[in-house]
């Protein structure tokens, strides 16, 4: 790739006549009437003697490019120049195909949310506000066609052209389904002529944009909406009478054959988007978020092509240690590593395009790209990512993306290899029209000249050393004070002796300094004006005495060639990527090992109870043997003397490790799935491991009666989102009753239900619909088997699918519930429609109806001692667990709280205090009992041969407040180790310090810094309580309906 190697800037001092003339007459469409005299032009040009980079593979030396009527007619070394062509000598210049930005909003305004136009406390908006035969959801607008909205905007086009772009794919960046994108050039012409391809792409995102509709209000809601829309569109093909005309669904179908571009904008979102695509047979092109390097293997596995922005985070001002304190190591590491993102893609062989989108200033595009080169990206890959790759993806490589005959005359003329720091883009030609970028640099005037100034009194000679367009020195004996400017054609030059001393003492010779430039020692100062014409400049002027003079400057020699500064730099030294990308992440994931824990007090949770001085052997992630004096040559020995070994804690009710928890916009949202939006980076996973937790049931919140599908996870710190999932478990769903569901604390609730009477009816209605739906499917299946029958098409409904699963005992309910009436009412709805409640969670009045729950066969999962935080928990008592347990229920103690989950053993111990439960029974409430409630007791919850090696080694009786987890083991892998934790604390401290010093150095060296920005952690919760979790945490409960005082 010679075109990308360093070349000293070439020198061309020939000036073509007429070259600097602006094109005054724009092209016009034939259908448009002309006012005045027609001025048709064919714009035939031949660019000769250039280094022409046709494409990433082909560079032609000393070649010619011929264009005509906006298109390329010929490219090559031996191309005949047409007689009617204007010849532009490009000796020393480079010509490149101009870049393509595949992720632009050029000429298509992004709608903005009205200021204060969205009030979170306002009543819910259930349906779309868009008038017309469109989709029910306002954020699904595939019918939007960017080509119909597009308007040329030269103010926006100019900076893009100056960064080398000639063509963009632009679309309306709003909504979840955003409609189609249009390929346009950046020519300043009538829209009709710059559109290259009207419908070039279809766009999607995970953000609902300016939609004011309440649904969806969560990440998982957005995913569910997309999935449902795929299904709806499929169904719409059958022209269902019930739907009538739906312009949106029709457009959705029509758009399917286009390249599908998904704005995911974050590493985990990339994977989420890709999974939606996988389900519906779509391979998205994914717009990334710049943090993909943190999970590059997962990203590669998507098999998607990516669109990468170059908006690296700015350094923060961390000089004040009190400000630095709240900037997380993860944020600082991301600052350091973000420029490695494109290189990481190249190294992993993941195809990608580059975009100038997301930059605060488009002018930063090339500097940012050069930074990516510094961090390992190759120039050749970048060139493809800006030309051929996007053009091919969009099916416009026949028109743009290389310099080949027949393509649009979209190209750059530069002074050198296009990505070099010192290279200047001189001109950007779009559709055969020239757009000047820095034309004054066409001629490199740098160098030394002999300046001769002649007046009536004679000539004097100086050396003129031109350093740039606006800097030069005139040298006589000394360097004189000189002002110089050159604008591509005209030159201004003035020079004089150094300014006189203060007080204006007369100069030698008695001449007073005067004028702007002061006096010359023993003579006048000069003001010259003239033109540049090749190697010889000339013009006229005046000296300080007012005498007219003429001058010439003749080129002597060019300055010594400098080197490109980007090449001098050593590859930057950066820290390692951590898994997960948190301070406490791993440089290398821990491995599964065979372990032999010796001589511990083992709380088995089985019939044998507690075993003193006992060994437990772990092999291949399972408990292999329990007994005395065990040995195994393959096993690493852990001394358990004086320590306690227990099964890992299982939290039946948790809200950690998810991007969103509540889809509260409707009362029934069984279509949403927590598992769609797990967040493996959540530091609370690690914190809870340090409290002995090994599995957590991540529940949907309690914002609505029928919430979302839950996800059981194992706390495998460092794995990806799929890796967190507990494999082969019975799926569950969260229901909720009572105050949260009826929005007690909202002053203007308009979402049904508003009372417990309504809650019961929501349930009845949902299951009634589910039954009818199930029957409809059965009918249709039977009918469709009959030969000759008109096929029945039933709309697949994700919401009702989940409810049908409940009816068929394929999905199980865990229901947030408090007071006895609602508990009973749910069980009666179940009796009527044929389902049982698997678990009542929270269930603070469970003690009042423990007999009925026992009859139902329900499990109970409760808080140890919470109460009086709202009306429905006034009768909550700390003896609840004990009474329910005495009544024969399987009772669990849950956290529902990221902090309390770290101390669930202590929460269980409270039942020893309140009601006198035995220690063994109490500990089962956070281990074996939740395993039973979750149908996984065959694998976890006790120490038994054959079960998963999910174990905790404690320093003390595990129910004691003084007990600390020393090791927490999941699947035989030690994910938390108190000694390793100590080492990590040191590492975090050192690494933080290293990066703080690096940011301070960036500031001191004049780099731009922004004020320190605290790394806020969002803590999601049920919507149930106001736990204030610390200085830089944001507690998010029910996202739409704010219930809270704090």
């Amino acid at each position: 790739m010679s075109a990308f190697k360093l070349h000293p800037p070439g020198r061309v001092l020939l000036l073509l006549p007429g070259f600097m003339l602006l094109f005054l007459f724009a092209k016009s469409q034939v259908t448009f009437p002309v006012n005045g005299i027609a001025d048709p032009r064919l714009n035939i040009y031949a660019f000769t003697n250039a280094t022409i980079v046709k494409d990433g593979q082909t560079t032609l030396q000393n070649a010619t490019l011929v264009i005509r009527e906006g298109k390329i007619v010929a490219v090559g070394a031996n191309v005949e120049v047409p007689k009617d062509a204007v010849i532009i000598n490009c000796s020393g210049k480079y010509i490149y195909p101009s870049f393509i930005d595949i992720y632009s909003d050029y000429g298509v305004a992004t709608p903005e949310r009205q200021r204060n136009g969205f009030d979170f406390r306002a009543p819910a908006q259930f349906n779309s506000n868009t008038k017309g035969a469109y989709n029910w959801n306002q954020a699904i607008k595939p019918e939007v066609d960017a080509y119909k909205l597009f308007a040329t905007d030269d103010a926006k086009a100019k900076p893009l052209r100056e960064s080398g772009f000639g063509t963009v794919l632009t679309h309306e960046k709003d909504g979840i389904a955003r409609g189609t994108g249009v390929v346009v050039t950046l020519a300043d012409e009538k829209e009709n002529l710059v559109i290259v391809k009207e419908k070039a792409s279809a766009h999607y995102s995970l953000s609902k944009g300016v939609s004011t509709q309440s649904y969806p209000s969560s990440m998982m809601g957005v995913i569910a909406l997309l999935r449902q829309t795929y299904l709806d569109a499929q169904w719409y093909k059958s022209k269902p009478a019930k739907e009538g005309v739906n312009i949106s669904l029709q457009a959705w179908l029509d758009n399917q054959n286009l390249p599908q571009i998904f704005d995911a904008n974050d590493k985990w979102n990339d994977l989420r988007a890709d999974r939606i695509g996988d389900e519906f047979g779509v391979q998205y092109i994914i717009k990334g978020g710049g943090n993909e390097y943190q999970r590059i293997d997962d990203i590669a596995a998507t098999k998607a092509t990516y669109i990468l922005a170059l908006n690296y985070p700015q350094a923060q001002d961390v000089e004040d240690p009190n400000d630095a304190r709240f900037v997380s190591l993860a944020d600082m590491k991301h600052w350091e590593l973000a420029p490695t993102n494109p290189a990481a893609f190249e190294k992993a062989n993941i195809p990608f395009c580059l975009t100038a989108a997301d930059l605060k200033d488009v002018k930063q595009f090339l500097p940012s790209l050069r930074k990516a080169f510094e961090y390992g990206l190759s120039e050749a890959k970048a060139f493809d990512a800006l030309t051929k790759t996007p053009a091919t993806l969009l099916g416009v490589y026949d028109k743009v993306g290389s310099l080949d005959a027949g393509k649009l005359a979209n190209f750059l003329i530069t002074t050198g290899p296009v990505f070099n720091e010192k290279t200047i883009i001189l001109q950007n030609w779009v559709q055969g029209e020239k757009y000047g970028v820095k034309e004054e640099d066409w001629n490199d005037i740098k160098g030394t000249y002999t300046l001769t100034v002649t007046s009536t009194s004679g000539s004097s000679t100086y050396t003129l050393d031109v350093k740039s367009d606006n800097s030069a020195d005139v040298i006589s004996n000394d360097t004189l004070t000189t002002r110089f400017s050159y604008d591509g054609k005209l030159v201004k030059l003035s020079f004089s002796s150094p300014a006189p001393k203060r007080g204006g003492a007369p100069h030698e010779g008695g001449e007073q300094p005067h004028g702007r430039f002061g006096g010359m020692r023993g003579g006048a100062s000069f003001r010259l004006s003239g033109t540049v014409n090749g190697n010889v400049w000339n013009g006229n002027g005046e000296d300080s005495a007012g005498n007219n003079l003429i001058w010439t400057a003749a080129f002597v020699k060019a300055p010594a060639a400098g080197t490109d500064s980007t090449k001098k730099k050593f590859p930057p030294r950066v820290g390692k990527v951590l898994y997960p990308f948190d301070g406490y992440g791993w440089e290398e994931m821990p491995k599964q090992e065979n372990l032999l824990i010796k001589n511990a007090t083992v709380w088995t949770n089985e019939a044998e109870g507690r075993l003193e001085n006992t060994d437990v052997l772990v092999k291949n992630g399972k408990i292999a043997q329990i007994g005395k004096n065990l040995s195994d040559a393959t096993a690493k020995v852990i001394d358990g003397t004086g320590k306690y070994l227990t099964p890992g804690i299982i939290d039946e009710h948790s809200h950690i490790a998810a991007a969103s928890i509540n889809e509260g916009a409707q009362s029934v949202t069984s279509e949403v799935r927590i598992g769609d939006n797990l967040n493996p980076d959540d530091i609370n996973i690690y914190r809870q491991l340090s409290g002995g937790v090994t599995s957590s049931h991540i529940l949907h919140g309690s914002a609505n009666t029928i919430g979302g599908q839950t996800q059981l996870i194992k706390l495998r710190w460092g794995v990806d989102d799929e890796g967190l999932k507990f494999k082969n478990w019975d799926p569950f769903i969260k229901f909720a009753l009572g105050e949260n569901v009826k929005r007690t604390t909202s002053n203007n609730n308009n979402r049904f239900p508003d009372t417990r009477m309504g809650v019961e009816e929501v349930l009845a209605d949902a299951f009634s619909r589910a039954k009818d739906y199930e029957n409809e499917w059965k009918l249709a299946e039977a009918n469709n088997k009959k030969k000759g029958a008109t096929p029945m098409v039933v709309r697949r409904d994700l919401e009702l699918d989940a409810l049908v699963e409940i009816l068929n005992k394929k999905r199980f309910i865990t229901c947030h519930s408090y007071v006895q009436s609602e508990i009973t009412a749910l069980m009666r709805v179940g009796d009527k429609y044929g389902f049982k409640v698997n678990t009542f969670t929270h269930i603070l009045e469970g003690y009042k109806v423990a007999d009925k729950m026992k009859e139902e066969g329900a499990n109970a999962s409760t808080f140890s001692d919470w109460w009086a935080y709202k009306t429905e928990v006034q009768d909550a008592i700390a003896y609840n667990a004990t009474i329910m347990q005495k009544m024969g229920l399987n009772v669990c103690i849950n956290s529902d709280d990221a902090e309390q989950a770290r101390r669930l053993n202590q929460e269980a111990a409270k039942s020893v205090k309140y009601g006198g439960m035995s220690e063994d029974d109490a500990f089962k409430m956070v281990t074996l009992n939740p395993a039973k409630a979750l149908h996984v007791a065959d694998r976890v919850g006790s120490i038994k041969v054959g079960k998963d090696a999910d174990l905790v080694l404690w320093s003390d009786n595990p129910l004691s407040i003084y007990a600390k987890a020393l090791k927490t083991i999941v699947d035989g892998i030690v994910y938390y180790d108190v000694d390793h934790d100590e080492a990590m604390r040191k590492y975090i401290s050192q690494e933080r310090n290293r990066l703080i010093q690096k940011m301070i150095a960036e500031k001191k060296s004049g780099g731009s810094v922004m004020p320190a920005r605290p790394s806020f952690q969002v803590i999601l919760s049920c919507g149930d309580h106001d736990h204030h979790d610390g200085l830089i945490t944001i507690d998010v409960s029910d996202e739409v309906n704010t219930n809270t005082n704090k």
């Binding site: 709240f326 340090s690 020893v912």
Partner: protein, 436 residues
């Protein structure tokens, strides 16, 4: 295990009928002599007296130690095998001001309108009939400092004892502290803005905070001038309310967590000579020596808290008390957990003991230290001669939930009921199911 069963049951059955009703009465004054014998006495000042005796007369402790003779006619409580502690003190709370935390505005009296409300007094709204009080008493928490919230200066707090008919009975020390909320130096992004990807306001809140601090200072400067002159043409109730700060009869409780806020609090000490107590102080471990140097006490609000930053040691909040202890800072522990409603005060101390403090130091942080900070250590906070007989007897280690089972509690010598709404509901449903 069985032992606990028996004790709890016998107590419950003696105290209440099987059907719950509002029949838990404050104890009558106890005139005479009370003797607690055979006890392991945790004095509250770090000392432990094995096999000790406490003698109480007319509500005051008159003797503590071994070999104390019995009086004829004295009420004797045999605490053999049990642990005896000073009554626990909840140093900052909305107890009695907030009955139902959410959704029932009518039950809330803890936050007044307005920005500078030094004359607002929490004591007048304190509801002795709050159902929450009984659950604290049952866990050995016998005193609480009832504190207003809201605005910049919220008003004054008063210490109450938790077994009373009305607030005047309850009052233990009135208006001992003025509560100031320090403006924040960290702007917290709107949580909805984050979720909806709206532009987040990243303006530096420092300027705003400094302006507010100026406003607070000028309030106190004027109040000081007002204090210096005895007669006034016009009475200013706000200035009147803070006179005690200048005469040192009151302390200034500054609610803040951030280091910069605490630095400003130190500055208050320097300018006005106030007795300053930091309430919150989650970052106090960062400047513990500076707090010590300036004689500033700290009330740590919530021991069971997540670390402030994701890079912090995972047990940072748990070990903050130890770090303060090491630096010699006077500190107390609080429990402001809104869902369990403050009854886990002793377990906050238990965690501090698991992470560095000795058990006696941890106990002191919920007894004597709290009393010192609240200015009531001349009357309570430890089991020492001359102090009120505010005493708790537990089956075992009060700091550990397995053994923290309270069998008796005395306020000013009166043996108070350990019954409460929860024990009564427990009985009610044990009765329903015929359980024992």
């Amino acid at each position: 295990m069985k032992k606990y069963f028996i004790i709890i049951y016998s107590l419950l059955f003696v105290a209440v009928s099987a059907i719950a009703q509002d029949d838990v009465y404050p104890a009558k004054d106890f005139k005479g002599v009370l003797i607690i014998t055979n006890a392991t006495i945790h004095v509250g000042n770090g000392q432990v007296i094995e096999n000790g005796t406490i003698k109480v007369e007319n509500g005051k402790i008159i003797q503590v130690g071994q070999n104390i003779s019995a009086d004829n006619g004295a009420k004797v409580v045999d605490a053999k095998g049990k642990q005896v502690y000073p009554g626990l003190i909840l140093p900052v709370t909305d107890l009695g001001l907030k009955e139902i935390a959410n959704g029932v505005r009518g039950s809330n009296d803890y936050s007044e309108l307005g920005d500078f409300n030094p004359s607002v007094r929490s004591i007048v709204a304190y509801n002795t009939d709050s159902k929450i009080i009984g659950t604290l008493r049952a866990n050995g928490i016998l005193l609480a400092s009832v504190t207003p919230q809201g605005g910049t200066i919220s008003g004054s707090s008063s210490v109450v004892q938790l077994d009373a008919w009305n607030y005047e009975d309850a009052a233990y020390k009135m208006d001992g502290a003025i509560h100031l909320n320090m403006p924040t130096f960290i702007s917290r992004p709107n949580r909805f803005a984050i979720f909806f990807g709206l532009p987040v306001d990243h303006t530096d809140p420092t300027q705003k905070a400094l302006e507010k601090i100026d406003e607070i200072k000028s309030f106190f400067r004027e109040a000081q001038a007002y204090y210096n002159e005895a007669s006034h043409k016009e009475t200013n109730l706000k200035f009147e309310a803070v006179k005690g700060l200048f005469s040192k009869k009151q302390k200034l409780f500054v609610h803040c967590d951030q280091v910069k806020q605490m630095l400003v609090a130190i500055d208050f000490v320097k300018e006005f000579g106030f007795d300053v107590v930091i309430v919150g102080g989650s970052e106090s471990f960062q400047i513990a020596p500076l707090l010590k140097q300036n004689n500033i006490a700290v009330i740590l609000q919530q021991e069971h808290e997540l670390p402030a930053t994701e890079d912090d040691d995972v047990d940072q909040p748990y070990k903050t008390p130890f770090q303060l202890q090491q630096a010699g800072v006077l500190f107390a522990l609080n429990d402001e957990h809104d869902e369990s409603r403050y009854r886990n005060l002793m377990f906050n101390a238990g965690t501090a003991a698991a992470y560095g403090l000795t058990k006696e130091q941890a106990l002191q942080a919920i007894t004597l230290n709290s009393a010192k900070i609240l200015g009531i250590d001349d009357r309570t906070g430890s089991i020492e001669v001359g102090k009120d007989a505010n005493i708790v007897i537990s089956d075992g280690d009060i700091l550990d939930m397995r053994t923290s089972i309270i069998t008796n509690a005395f306020i000013q010598g009166r043996e108070v009921s350990l019954e409460n709404k929860q024990t009564q509901l427990y009985q009610r449903y044990m009765y329903k199911y015929g359980l024992k």
